[in-house]
């Protein structure tokens, strides 16, 4: 190894570190790191704040794992009943499970334990919220299109698994609030036709609450689900690297390149720094705001309850579903079909799946098999944007339903009226939002078109010699013109010729008809404003100037 004179162009002359290079050589000989580094060290990442939402998810996930490991050092996942004799006075001598007791111990008697608990829980709430926003960013910009459909599904699975990991974690302290949530889950499982009671008995090791669910949830919460999630996160990241990041349209940005800053050094510093920023913010939030104060709630007893019994926010929409469902129950032939609980239990995954399958529906409608790396502006895809907005409004209506008691007390409303609002809104609000969003998108498209053809309103009012006042419109730069016209517009797919060259009529399949209909709805005259053409532009700009 003649490393005394390695004139590597990558390394600045002054920082030559022979020892480091020797280590790298050693590793390369065994792991082939130079090959990896060649492809990735100067990998380009585009800069946009919305591209960092995924990083918030990743970092909060790492924070959750770090703090979670710490918590396992003190938590006892046991439901054995013990008497409390810790430092919190208002629970002295109360009977509680060891799980609750050890959580009290972490909160009051382990120095810094409360902080780590709060970081863990706040990070979980933020993790789910960030995943939600990240998913919506990907949705509204069309980043889920080929080649990224699989990664969209990975992300979706992470969101769903995150929900259940959160729910099992929320249940572990065995406090009165989470116990009520587990009780709800038992009732929901019982409602499953034919096998419900068996599932419930297997899950709880007998009758509710039994003595097993905390330890079972524990292994699910700390091992099974996070293990799967970790695998998915790694896969998700590998795919992000492999596909290279998407970018918004702009000068110099094409479907065949990616414009931005290299991983080393800029992105390493920014992304690495962002981890600390996220951790810092969550730590500060945990210093300032209390979360899940189990000492206030007390230990779980199946005959006690508190008003305002809600799950963490990410389960709130399912809570809404169950709260607003009418109490339908069918009794026949000695059996009971508990529709009042079972229907929400079925709609719950459907709400989620409806957004997850959307990319596949869209790609079927467009029939587009090309790769897409340039992001859409939401306005340029009105139907997709309207669908996404409708879905969010649907989700939000259900969240309102899940918190109907707090809406009632804080806005002085009748809880019954809110429930009825949600029952109606469940069907009506998404439709209204769909229509409104689509119109807004079309309006914005028109405005873009005007801007391209007539220029930007400058705000300067000019008086012409004959007395007319006009506003001066400034023509756009070529950068702006390109950016505003870079998007593609699909033409509605027509049903192909129904008579072939030999004059034989072929049958048009139902699926084909449906597809043509959907395509018309997506890309028909009603659903997009034709973008300005070069001819139109030239005609207007070469003519009588600006209007």
């Amino acid at each position: 190894m003649s490393n005394n004179e390695s004139p590597s162009s990558n390394e600045p002359r002054r920082g030559k570190a022979p020892a480091g290079e020797r280590v790298a050589d050693w590793a390369d000989g065994r792991l082939g790191i130079y090959g990896l580094a060649k492809a990735n060290m100067r990998k380009i990442f585009p800069d946009h704040w919305s591209f960092m939402l995924g990083e918030i998810c990743l970092y909060s996930f790492i924070i959750i794992i770090l703090t979670g490991v710490y918590l396992t050092l003190f938590f006892h996942p046991s439901m054995n009943e013990v008497e409390y004799h810790g430092s919190y006075i208002p629970l002295q001598g109360q009977m509680m499970s060891e799980a609750f007791n050890s959580t009290m111990h972490i909160s009051f008697d382990v120095r810094g334990g409360l902080l780590i608990r709060q970081i863990h829980h706040w990070a979980a709430l933020i993790f789910l919220a960030a995943m939600f926003v990240h998913m919506m960013r990907v949705f509204f910009t069309g980043a889920f299109r080929k080649p990224r459909e699989v990664n969209w599904l990975f992300g979706f699975l992470l969101f769903v698994l995150g929900m259940f990991t959160g729910f099992t974690g929320y249940s572990l302290p065995d406090d009165l609030l989470s116990g009520t949530g587990v009780r709800f889950m038992e009732g929901a499982v019982l409602s499953v036709p034919i096998v419900g009671t068996y599932l419930s008995f297997f899950l709880f090791g007998g009758e509710f609450p039994g003595g097993d669910f905390v330890s079972r949830f524990y292994s699910i919460h700390i091992l099974l689900l996070p293990g799967i999630m970790l695998g998915l996160v790694v896969g998700h990241l590998i795919l992000v690297f492999y596909h290279k990041h998407t970018q918004f349209a702009g000068p110099g940005k094409t479907n065949n390149n990616v414009v931005g800053m290299p991983l080393l050094p800029v992105y390493m510093a920014k992304a690495g720094g962002f981890f600390f920023l996220v951790f810092g913010v969550i730590a500060a939030v945990s210093a300032i705001a209390s979360i899940n104060p189990i000492w206030s709630m007390g230990p779980y007893r199946p005959d006690m309850v508190s008003t305002g019994a809600q799950p963490d926010w990410y389960m709130g929409f399912s809570e809404g579903l169950i709260r607003v469902m009418p109490g339908w129950e069918i009794n026949a032939w000695g059996h009971t079909l508990v529709l009042g609980v079972f229907i929400p239990l079925v709609i719950f995954p459907l709400v989620l799946v409806s957004i997850a399958v959307y990319p596949f529906i869209e790609s079927w409608v467009t029939g587009d098999k090309r790769e897409h790396h340039i992001l859409d502006r939401p306005r340029n895809v009105p139907t997709r944007t309207a669908f996404g907005a409708a879905w969010i409004s649907w989700y939000f209506v259900l969240l309102v339903g899940g918190g109907n008691d707090l809406w009632a007390t804080h806005f002085h409303l009748s809880i019954n009226a809110i429930t009825w609002f949600v029952r109606v809104g469940f069907f009506v609000v998404p439709v209204l939002v769909f229509v409104a969003t689509k119109r807004i998108c079309l309006g914005l498209q028109r405005r873009d078109r005007d801007k391209v053809l007539h220029g930007r309103e400058s705000g300067i009012i000019k008086r012409l010699p004959h007395g007319e006042f006009i506003e001066v419109h400034e023509p756009l730069s070529q950068d702006a013109l390109h950016t505003l016209t870079a998007h593609e517009q699909y033409v509605p797919a027509a049903i192909g010729a129904t008579v072939d060259e030999n004059g034989v009529e072929r049958k048009v399949k139902g699926a084909e008809k449906l597809r043509a209909k959907l395509s018309e709805a997506y890309y028909g005259e009603e659903s997009q404003i034709p973008k300005p053409t070069v001819e139109e532009y030239k005609e207007i700009t070469s003519g009588h100037g600006h209007h």
């Binding site: 380009i44 038992e186 609450p209 810092g280 199946p302």
Partner: protein, 351 residues
Amino acid sequence: MSSQDIPEENLPAEQDAHGAVGVANEQDPFADPGLPPHEHRVQDIDEQAARRSERVVAFLFTVSMLATVGFIASYVAIPHDRAIYVFPIGHINALNFALGLTLGLALFSIGAGAVHWARTLMSDVEIADERHAIEATPEVKAKVLADFKQGAKESALGRRKLIRNTMFGALALFPLSGVMLLRDLGPLPGTKLRHTIWSKGKLLVNMNTNEPLRPSDVAVGSLTFAKPEGLEEHDEEFQTEIAKAALMIVRLQPDNIKDKRELEWSHEGIVAYSKICTHVGCPISLYEQQTHHVLCPCHQSTFDLSDGARVIFGPAGHALPQLRIGVNDEGYLEALGDFEEPVGPAFWERG
């Protein structure tokens, strides 16, 4: 980077390519003009500004170090049960507050320093990287398919059907062992959900005082919770039993009871209903004494206790089960049997 005293002179000339002049003359005004030329930041041309940035970054890293020292000091110095008043947060735990803020500051400063460094001192020249199609080229695809065919042929799997079929059979069956192993997760339901520990002659014990109730204890408009005699909080099965046996006792004017069976099963207007909601099992007990309605705090199922506890609002599917009660020789309220129907959430075998 040269360090000039008058940075203005070092500034790049204003970009004239940036304007829209002459767009209309070109063939395609919407064409991609290509990456805009790089513009310098102040730090790129003014060494003083760059030094300022350097100092800011170093300052942030120093703050982080100090904050970590502060964290350790707080951990050692502040007793874990010390409360302080912090406006406007309120009375909070001093240690949690100090540890959280110092930790947060230490981490945030590292991040802020790194990002400031990246934003002001590292090169901000945008670079374009080529993309390559994810799909394989036709040659690669052809080679892979050929290799696969060759491998499949050499395995003889397609030719020797017996091997193939038995292998699939074996692979399909072995997971059943795993399913079997799950059997002992819990006992079979049997009729456990149909019964509680209430039985004839069991006294109704007041949850608050742990004393058996007399009819005279229960006033009109009052609300009392009861458990069966003999069930104590320290019992092994307390949680599981109380999850089914919890009772809610109210007294109505007998004239106000609309349901005939309810009146029959009551004692002098005292009625005993299961406290467990028939929806998904929350302990329902938000009793409104003027309307005789009882509301579930979890999902707002509302029952009318003066009318057989039928459902008048919300997602519950059937009325709350009533426990038949009477008075024993000593004048205490007692159960006259178990609930006649399963308490709690409905299930398939409920019927």
